[in-house]
Amino acid sequence: MAQGDVLTRAKARHLLRRTGFGAMPAEVDRLLASSATVGDAADRIVRFNPKGFKPGGRYYSNIHDNWIDWMLKTTQPLAEKLTLFWHDHFATAYSKVQSVKLMAQQNQYLRKNGVGSFKDLVKGINRDPAMIEYLDTVRNDKAIPNENYARELQELFTLGTRNLRGGESDANYTQADIVQIARAFTGWGYSRTKPVFRDYAHDFVAEFGSVRGPKVIYKSTGGFGSGGRDFAQAGEGAGEIDQVVDVIFEHRDWEGENTVARRTAKRLFEYFAHGGFSTIAVPSPQLDAIDEVIATSGFTTSWNVAALVREILVHDRFYDSLSDRSLKSVRWPVDLAVGTLRVLGMKPKGRYKYIPGGRYGGLLDHMQNMGQTVLEPPSVFGWDWESSWVSSATLLARYGFVRDVAARYAEGFAPLALLGISSGDPDVVVNAVAEYLGVKDDLSAGEIAAFKAFLGGPVNLANDWEVRRKIHGLFVLVMQAPAYQLH
């Protein structure tokens, strides 16, 4: 555990970058001044009451842009990092829901509830109208139940398909469990912005029990014994979808560990720390770390997300990538875009939120090209993480975005004010830019030499044309380099 460790500059920057969007040197200074230890800093970062922001506007592009705008200006960056995480976790796409209002409502729901009880969060998402539409609960007919939601509730939202330890009997549920759970969701729909339950459309055992049996799940998995668990034993009807969640949250893998807790902690660890957790059968050191943060946070009792995240932020594994570069993560496009704009003090402009330099393209257009449009994930799986973000197409889009933000004539970009240097010596300039962008420790001597070669000699800082050509150009180059794509 690192919580008593002295907060170094590198750790402070890492904490800020992973829980927010980039880190300005002044922000790192402030965290260092306020927090003596890693534990102090983590406490400071996770302690907030989420605001009730809801992205407004008439069209999809409005809610997209307004959420990104909010990420840029919020004083609670972790709230947005978590909202983005839950959005990826409970992936819901505007293109199917076809309602700006419902998408915005879900976004607000995730923000307000994303630091509290995970169990409550799942119960709420069960009856979230955008989700009811997106995963076909609204089309789940008692005569022929639609399995879509019941499957994804288990596979993606809670259990995962398999035990994290792997092994011979590592399945967490069977198709029969999906079929049974689908019955619980029959009769649910929504009216305008509110969920509704219709008794007459619900699958009751009295009507379907002769064919489908009792509402029993996990007869062969979950540690409930061969009798499984009846999720309707407390009564049939509207309460079944909560009771199903209660059962799922008691599910244990073959090692006897809580399945939902392990998977949720794994995903949060991976999101905040690094990709070393990304196989389905998680290697021992990582799985130990997962079990440790569950234990120290009391997650299986409180299901409190803030407490779990706090324990991740003070765990040694969280700082692995400072010493082992192979454990870096690829920055999500949203992180790259918001982090770059914020750290360079730039704002998208006008109705179309264009980036004021280079080709003056709109924010949404840039995000599409980089491969991440919020409120429009590619599928129910959300986005593929880590190296899936990297391709020639998405890298070109990243190169284009950072080029525009720091273009030679980008409106409002004032690099000398950010750097505070008075010498144009190539060593000084390259060092200052790399330090400001937070990549200095990750550059090889060869990369530094390449950047100095680009400058071609001392830069006359009093000459505006030369500053635009060389200093703007160097910012762009460093942001296009491999190191800047990682954190």
Binding site: D136, R139, D141, A143, N146, E147, N148, R151, E155, T161, R162, G166, G167, E168, S169, D170, T174, Q175, S278, T279, I280, A281, R325, S326, K328, V330, G358, N369, V380, F381, D384, W385, E386, S387, S388, W389, V390, S391, S392, A393, T394, L396, G400, R403, D404, R408, E447, A449, A450, A453, F454, R469, G473, V476, L477, Q480, A481, P482, Q485, L486
Partner: protein, 490 residues
């Protein structure tokens, strides 16, 4: 529901998308040396139907023949409101001049979904996939699957892409075609291109270059608009040096190598010209058509010997097949009809374009079409849930068109505990393993020996499964039962 499936056998260490194939397997001198054969003047395109295409409403029984397929179909697919049943008269018969359209096992006449006749009212790609079939260029391979099928999109997708159902470590993380590329091409070559934003799982590996290009016209490196030639030269040199000097940190070494390949390829691919039928893709105006247009442009460039344009392996995808609801049957405004129409018309246009680029070029291209699973035989209210084995298509001038493999047994008595059709490597309703299709393609289209293909495709050895429930006897010489023709012409 007679048979209970042994569900969710162990797939140890199934890698997620984030993991790349390590060098282990291909460090083996036999594999690497044996595959370093001279390149063939051929192209291979993989088209993925993303979401799980309903195979039963793709290749559909027209009659019972000597069995009960049509009756079973009508039992599972309902008529009336929300019903998905395709009337026999609406189907496009696979029995055409010179080609039998009968299911090899039951003798039932088979037909394609009417959407494969092209996009109604659109001249571009008119006739769709069916017209290519009539020309003898489409092999329909029925009931393709793998043991212990998964109903999870993610798992099934990973298995089809990796051809590694039980996640054997040596094959983990990479795609089956990626393994082939890694063995055949070097680190500085760029043999693959995906017409999408990311590199497809089939082609994923870290040994050689695979581009991801959405649109060639946008595939250029973003220098500053006011950079002069000297600025561009200085930035180009610094960028390449930064990519090459970046301290290699697996698994992300590819950020540097991809950066290098991207900059260098952008300089050649960006300049590729239009194809003869450029405007027709615009007339079709479907995203998949535009994607095929980019492949046609690249192939035209390769065929013309354009420097630094060498992609011969392509991937593209069409989404929207997860038709849990509102699938619709033969209705031309329905989801499933539109998907089939789009795919068929785009393919037809693509092959027409290839012929216009250079007569005979369409004989050098094969398109393989797959989807991660089919749908449940028994429909739900107005859609279909996740199923098991489904049909694949192979399309090309050198394909022997017709019907391969058996239709799955869709009789209710043959469904497994989940209501799905069963994978089997024996019996009258024997399925076709996806690895036999891949292996036949590697051997007869991409020029590998049987041993070389076998080295890329792991066989199964699972104690919990009977011998005929797993894939233990590769057959890389798939043959059309009617007439005994091989899948690919010599």
């Amino acid at each position: 529901m007679a048979i209970t499936r042994r569900q969710f056998l162990r797939r140890g260490g199934l890698a997620t998308a984030g993991t790349l194939l390590g060098p282990g397997l291909f460090g083996h001198p036999f594999v690497r040396g044996a595959l370093a054969t001279p390149g063939l003047d051929r192209y291979f395109v993989v088209l993925q139907l993303d979401g799980g295409n309903d195979g039963l409403n793709t290749v559909t029984p027209i009659d019972d023949g000597g069995g009960t397929l049509r009756s079973d179909y009508e039992h599972a697919r309902l008529a009336g409101n929300g019903g998905l049943r395709l009337a026999s008269s609406s189907l496009l018969p696979l029995g055409v001049a010179g080609i039998s359209g009968a299911d090899p096992n039951t003798g039932a006449a088979l037909g394609l979904h009417p959407g494969f006749g092209g996009v109604p009212g659109v001249g571009a790609g008119a006739g769709g996939l069916y017209s290519l079939y009539q020309q003898g260029k489409v092999a329909v391979v029925q009931a393709c699957g793998y043991p212990d099928y998964s109903l999870s999109h993610a798992e099934a997708h990973s298995i089809w892409s990796s051809a590694n159902p039980f996640s054997l470590g040596a094959y983990a993380g990479g795609g089956w075609l990626g393994r082939h590329l890694a063995a055949r091409y070097g680190a500085t070559e760029v043999p693959g291109a995906c017409i999408e934003r990311s590199v497809a799982a089939e082609l994923r590996q870290s040994a050689t270059g695979v581009l991801a290009i959405e649109r060639l016209d946008d595939f250029d490196f973003p220098y500053d608009p006011s950079d002069d030639a000297a600025d561009v030269a200085a930035k180009r040199a610094a960028f390449l040096a930064a990519c090459q000097q970046h301290v290699v940190a697996p698994p992300y070494a590819n950020i540097g190598t991809t950066g290098t390949a991207t900059l260098e390829s952008s300089e050649s691919y960006h300049t590729l010209g239009r194809t003869p039928l450029h405007a027709a893709y615009g007339e079709l105006d479907r995203s998949l058509g535009y994607d095929f247009r980019e492949i046609a442009r690249i192939i035209q460039g390769v065929a013309a010997g354009t420097p630094n344009v060498a992609a011969r392996y392509f991937h593209l995808r069409n989404g929207g097949y997860d038709t849990h609801s509102d699938q619709k049957g033969a209705d031309p405004t329905g989801q499933h009809f539109s998907l089939h129409a789009e795919v068929g018309a785009a393919l037809r246009l693509f092959f027409d374009d290839l012929e216009q680029i250079d007569s005979g070029l369409s004989d050098k291209v094969v398109v393989l079409v797959w989807s991660e699973f089919s749908r449940r035989p028994m429909q739900n209210d107005n859609g279909t849930d996740h199923g098991s084995q489904g049909p694949m298509f192979l399309v090309g001038g050198k394909v022997n068109g017709g019907v391969y493999g058996n239709h799955p047994n869709i009789a209710e008595s043959a469904w497994d505990g989940d209501g799905n059709t069963v994978y089997a490597q024996s019996g009258a309703f024997r399925s076709t393993d996806i690895r036999d299709v891949y292996g036949t393609t590697l051997k007869h289209w991409l020029g590998l020996s049987a041993a070389q293909a076998a080295a890329l495709l792991p066989t199964d050895s699972v104690a919990a499964l009977a011998a005929d429930e797993q894939w233990q006897s590769p057959n890389f010489d798939l043959v059309r039962p009617a007439g005994g023709l091989p899948l690919f012409k010599a």
